[in-house]
């Protein structure tokens, strides 16, 4: 085989890989699922008690299992697998790591970790970047770094002033925006994946 043929075949392999990734909805499904649950959690978080806060720690495994379930349905409908058994293993691992990672990094950073696990299972760079952004923002927010800036900003602008000096909805605002960004990113990815269906 000469190098021109090798180059052409590598190009063909790349095209097939892109097509299969698109058909599997490899990026859009996890982004839409995790974006939606983050958005819902961000809205209900300030309203719930400690039991509700505890439930937030289950976001990551629930998200992974939901993704696995959607992929299983797609596998039956379209005849294209997606290693859904590995997702179950990933969900169980995340659940087992919860007591350590959840307390250290926060419930939302765990969502970032769950997305990183899915990105690794799928060898999906686009998803890995989203996961990294989500994980970093989640961790910073867990340390209240972003909330404090949001409070300072709203206070300076005179938009919101509380008696106890704390803007309790700032965390929800940060994660609400992040969840919304994931959903929008997922919808855009879905459009691109539909375009690659050929």
């Amino acid at each position: 085989m000469d190098s021109a043929t090798a180059k052409e075949m590598l190009g063909d392999v790349g095209a097939v890989q892109r097509r299969v990734k698109g058909d599997r909805r490899a990026t859009s499904v996890p982004l839409i699922v995790f974006g939606s649950i983050t958005l819902i959690a961000a809205v209900i978080e300030p309203m719930v008690d400690w039991a509700g806060t505890l439930a937030l720690f289950l976001l990551a495994p629930v998200g992974i299992l939901s993704v696995a379930l959607i992929y299983r349905r797609r596998e039956i409908a379209f005849g294209l697998g997606s290693r859904e058994r590995s997702y179950t293993v990933a969900a169980i691992s995340t659940l087992l790591l919860l007591p350590i990672l959840g307390l250290a990094l926060g419930s939302y950073a765990l969502v970032g970790i769950a997305l990183i696990i899915i990105a690794m299972l799928q060898r999906n760079l686009q998803l890995a970047i989203w996961a990294l952004v989500f994980g970093v923002v989640g961790l910073l927010e867990h340390l209240s770094l972003i909330s404090n800036r949001v409070y300072s900003l709203t206070d300076t602008l005179g938009i919101y002033r509380s008696n106890d000096g704390y803007f309790s909805w700032s965390s929800s605002l940060v994660f609400g925006i992040l969840g919304l960004a994931l959903v929008v990113g997922g919808l855009l990815a879905q459009q691109a994946e539909r375009g690659s269906d050929g």
Binding site: M1, D2, S3, A4, A6, K7, E8, M9, L10, G11, D12, V13, G14, A15, V16, Q17, R19, V20, K21, D23, R24, I76, F78, G79, L80, G81, S82, R83
Partner: protein, 150 residues
């Protein structure tokens, strides 16, 4: 990476010797690529994704299964008969070797092409790639091929 002497057998071998006829064939390479991305796929999906006829796909699947590169499972989904193809560990290894050999072949050609451009410009052949200036179009008839976007 370790430096290897000119008498080392691994250097003397051309990358194309690492290619196996079973995996190298274009359609079979396509089948293995789909299965490596998705773990398993059914007959109908493979047929449409690779634009093959029933007979053609069936023949290639048999060859791959006979070599232990894929596993074929026949069953029913409700009343609908379904044939699934699943890549095995051996298949994943064979595909990885094939990809590695092809990339090596392309890299080797590009390295040769760059050094021939250097020689045409009268530059020393030992300079590292980073230090090398952007090559001007070669004076000879040889033109460096563009990477295809496909």
């Amino acid at each position: 990476m370790d430096d290897v002497g000119p008498n080392d057998d691994s250097v003397a071998l051309h990358p194309s010797t690492a290619l196996t006829e079973i995996v190298h064939q274009r359609t079979r390479l396509g089948i293995l690529t789909v299965l490596a991305e998705s773990r398993r796929a059914d007959f109908t999906y493979l047929k449409s994704a690779l634009q093959l006829t029933d007979g053609n796909l069936g023949r290639h699947l048999e060859i791959l299964a006979a070599e232990g590169l894929i596993k074929i499972t026949k069953g029913y989904e409700g009343r609908r008969p379904r044939t699934w193809a699943e890549i095995t560990k051996v298949g994943q290894g064979a595909l990885a070797s094939q990809m590695h050999a092809m990339k090596q072949l392309v890299n080797q050609f590009e390295a040769l092409n760059i050094s021939s451009m250097d020689e045409a410009q009268g530059l020393p052949a030992q300079r590292s790639r980073r230090d090398r200036p952007t090559p001007a179009p070669p004076r000879s008839g040889k033109v460096k091929p563009r990477l295809s976007g496909a």
